[in-house]
C-alpha cells in the first residue's frame, strides 16, 4: 500500500501561514516527520493559490525537496499552480487531481501527458458525483479513454472513487460499501490501472478522537479489495503499523468480520472489539452513530 502523506495542507492554519510567510521550518518539519513515519509520497495541497502562483509553488516544492527524497503529489484545482508544481519536482510527481469534468479533461490531463507523470483521476463528472458502482465505472471508462488518447497509459492513472463521510445520515454507510465494491471490481474493468482514495474523508464530521479508528479500519478493508494507495495521515502510528503489516491479527479480525463470521466479543481485547464494531459500521451492518463504539 502506497501512503501519500496528507499533512501539508493549506486548510491547516500553520501550513497556510508558513507558506504565506515563507517559513521553511514548519514545512521542513512536516515533510521530515512524514518521511520518517514511512510515507511514500508527500502531498502538497495548496488550494486555489491565486497570488504569486509560480513563485509560491516553486518555493514550496523546493523547500520540501530540501529535506526529503520522496516524490511529491501536487494537489490543486488551479492548472497554473499545478504546472508550476510539476515543473520543479525532481522525482516523477503525481498530479492530484483530474476528473471526468470537461474542464479538468481539457486543463489537467494534458499536463499529465506533458510532464509524463502519474495522475489521480476522480470519478466526478459535470453531472456531479456518480452515486453507484455502475455510474462510477461508466465515468472512469470515459475519462480513462480520453487520457489514453492523450498518451497517458492506464498504468499512470490512479482512479479515485471519492470517499464520502460515513456519518452522513442515511447515505454515508451505503457509500462506504459502494467504494469497497468499486475498488473490488476495478481491476476487472481496467486491468493495470491504479487506485487511490482521500481516506480521511470517511471520518469527516466525526468527533476528532474517534476519527483514526474509522480511517485505519476502512483502509484495511479497502486494502483487501485491492486498493493501491491512499492519501492519509502517516503520523498516526497505529495506522502505519497496520499498513506495514505489523498487526496481522487485527487485519485477520477485520476480514473475518467482513466475512460475516459471528465473533464472540467477550473473547476479545478492548481494542479488538473496537475494530470489530468499526468494521460492522463500515460494512453497513450496524447503523452508524457517534456512539458506535459504545453500543
Amino acid at each position: 500500500m502506497i501512503i501519500i502523506g496528507e499533512n501539508i495542507h493549506v486548510i491547516a492554519n500553520e501550513v497556510s501561514t508558513a507558506v504565506r510567510e515563507r517559513n521553511a521550518k514548519t514545512i521542513h518539519d512536516l515533510a521530515k516527520a512524514q518521511t520518517e513515519a514511512g510515507a511514500d509520497y508527500i502531498d502538497l495541497n495548496v488550494g486555489p493559490m491565486k497570488q504569486d502562483t509560480e513563485g509560491t509553488m516553486k518555493w514550496l516544492v523546493d523547500t520540501v525537496q530540501e529535506v526529503t527524497d520522496l516524490p511529491l503529489t501536487i494537489d490543486t484545482m488551479n492548472p497554473v499552480a499545478m504546472e508550476a508544481g510539476l515543473k520543479f519536482c525532481k522525482k516523477r510527481p503525481l498530479l492530484n487531481s483530474a476528473s471526468g469534468k470537461q474542464l479538468s479533461k481539457e486543463q489537467m490531463l494534458p499536463l499529465a501527458a506533458k510532464y509524463k507523470c502519474d495522475v489521480v483521476v476522480s470519478v466526478m463528472t459535470d453531472k456531479g458525483m456518480p452515486p453507484d458502482v455502475d455510474s462510477k465505472i461508466e465515468s472512469i471508462l470515459d475519462t480513462a479513454a480520453y487520457a489514453n488518447e492523450l498518451g497517458i497509459p492506464d498504468e499512470d492513472i490512479w482512479i479515485d472513487p471519492i470517499i464520502l463521510p460515513v456519518s452522513t445520515a442515511g447515505e454515508g454507510q451505503r457509500f462506504a460499501v459502494i467504494c469497497l465494491d468499486f475498488i473490488q471490481i476495478l481491476q476487472d474493468v481496467l486491468p493495470g490501472v491504479k487506485s487511490t482514495v482521500g481516506l480521511s474523508n470517511i471520518s469527516n464530521g466525526v468527533p476528532a478522537p474517534l476519527r483514526p479508528m474509522l480511517n485505519r479500519t476502512y483502509l484495511m478493508m479497502l486494502n483487501r479489495s485491492g486498493l493501491y494507495s491512499a492519501i492519509a495521515d502517516p503520523l498516526d502510528v497505529e495506522f502505519m503499523k497496520l499498513v506495514k503489516g505489523e498487526m496481522p491479527e487485527i487485519v485477520d479480525l477485520i476480514y473475518r468480520t467482513m466475512d460475516g463470521e459471528k465473533i464472540a466479543l467477550s473473547s476479545l481485547s478492548e481494542k479488538e472489539v473496537e475494530y470489530v464494531k468499526t468494521t460492522k459500521v463500515l460494512m453497513g451492518e450496524t447503523l452508524y452513530s457517534d456512539a458506535w463504539l459504545e453500543s
Partner: protein
C-alpha cells in the same frame, strides 16, 4: 404453476413500553413486523394509540375552526383535558409552553403542580412535553418528574443537551422518556445509546420530529420507516423503541391548516395516516375531528 403469496417473517421486535400506571396504563409497541404488513408473519399486540394535545395556557393564534371545540374550557387546562377524554383518546398530551422563557416563563413549581392536578383528575395516561428550551426544560421536567413520583408519565423532550439531568429524574421517579433528535437517524441512535447507559431501554420512546404534509413530511416518513426497518429487520437494539409522532402542533402551524376547517382536518389527517404507515406507535393530534377521521380510516386494520 400454483401461485403462492410470499410471506416474510422478521426476527426483531419493537419493545413494549407502558405509559401511565395501574388501571390508567396503556401499552405501545411490541410489534415484530413492519407497519400495516398484515400479510406477513408476526403481530401487533398493541393497536396504534392516539392522544390529543392541550396547552398550559390559552393559545393566541389558533383559528376558530380549531379552537371552537375547546373554547369554553381553554382557560383551564384540567377542564380542557377532561373534555378531550370525552373524545375517546388513549392519552392526553400536555404541552408546558408557558414555561418557555420567551413566553410567560412560568416556574417549574407552578408547572409541576398543574401536572400533578391533572394526573389526579384524568382517567388516561399523561404525556408531558416541555417548551423545548433545553435549559428551562431541565428545571421544569425534573420538577414534574419529582412531584409526580411514580405515576409513569411520558416525559419529553429529552435532548442531547439535557438527557443526563432529565433522564435521571425520569428514571428515579418512575417515568418514561421521550428521546428527541432533529430528523437524523445517526443522532437518534446516539441519544438512545447514551440514555441506555443508565436507564432501561423499555423506558424510552423515540420522537424523531414529525414534519407536516408539504413541509418536509417525506423526511419524517423516511426516517420513521428506516428506524422501524432497522429495528425489525436488522435487529438494532438501539432503534427498537416505539415511536411517538408529535404532529398536531406542526400541522396546525401551516398556512393551509389555518385557512379552513376542511383543509386543516385533512392536513392533519393525511400527515397522521402517512406517519402511521411509516411506523408511528402513538400519535399526538390537535383536532378532535381529525382524531375521529383517522380512527375511522384505520379501523379495519387497527
Amino acid at each position: 404453476m400454483e401461485y403462492k403469496t410470499p410471506v416474510d417473517a422478521y426476527t426483531g421486535t419493537i419493545r413494549e413500553v407502558t405509559i401511565g400506571k395501574g388501571k390508567k396504563a396503556v401499552k405501545i409497541g411490541g410489534d415484530n413486523k413492519l407497519p400495516l404488513h398484515f400479510f406477513d408473519e408476526g403481530s401487533y399486540p398493541n393497536p396504534i394509540k392516539f392522544a390529543l394535545q392541550i396547552l398550559d395556557m390559552e393559545p393566541k393564534d389558533w383559528p376558530e375552526h380549531l379552537a371552537g371545540p375547546f373554547r369554553d374550557v381553554m382557560s383551564d387546562p384540567v377542564k380542557w383535558a377532561k373534555k378531550c377524554e370525552g373524545f375517546g383518546v388513549d392519552a392526553i398530551a400536555l404541552y408546558l409552553i408557558s414555561t418557555d422563557p420567551m413566553e410567560k416563563d412560568t416556574s417549574a413549581e407552578e408547572a409541576a403542580s398543574l401536572v400533578k392536578r391533572m394526573v389526579s383528575e384524568l382517567n388516561v395516561p399523561l404525556i408531558v412535553y416541555g417548551s423545548g428550551d433545553e435549559k428551562k426544560d431541565s428545571e421544569v421536567l425534573t420538577k414534574v418528574a419529582e412531584v409526580c413520583d411514580g405515576s409513569n408519565l411520558l416525559i419529553g423532550p429529552v435532548q442531547k443537551e439535557n438527557y443526563q439531568i432529565i433522564g435521571k429524574a425520569i428514571l428515579d421517579h418512575g417515568h418514561t422518556a421521550i428521546a428527541q433528535t432533529p430528523l437524523d437517524i445517526n443522532l437518534l441512535k446516539e441519544l438512545n445509546v447514551k440514555l441506555c447507559k443508565f436507564m432501561p431501554a423499555e423506558r424510552i420512546v423515540i420522537d424523531p420530529l414529525s414534519s407536516p404534509l408539504g413541509y418536509g413530511m417525506e423526511y419524517s416518513f423516511s426516517l420513521m420507516e428506516r428506524v422501524k426497518q432497522i429495528g425489525v429487520i436488522t435487529e438494532d437494539s438501539m432503534t427498537q423503541m416505539p415511536i411517538i409522532a408529535n404532529l398536531g402542533d406542526e400541522c396546525w402551524k401551516t398556512k393551509q391548516a389555518k385557512e379552513s376547517k376542511e383543509q386543516g382536518l385533512l392536513w392533519e389527517g393525511i400527515t397522521a395516516l402517512s406517519l402511521i404507515l411509516a411506523g408511528a406507535n402513538i400519535l399526538v393530534l390537535r383536532h378532535p375531528e381529525t382524531l375521529k377521521l383517522v380512527k375511522e380510516t384505520i379501523r379495519p386494520v387497527r
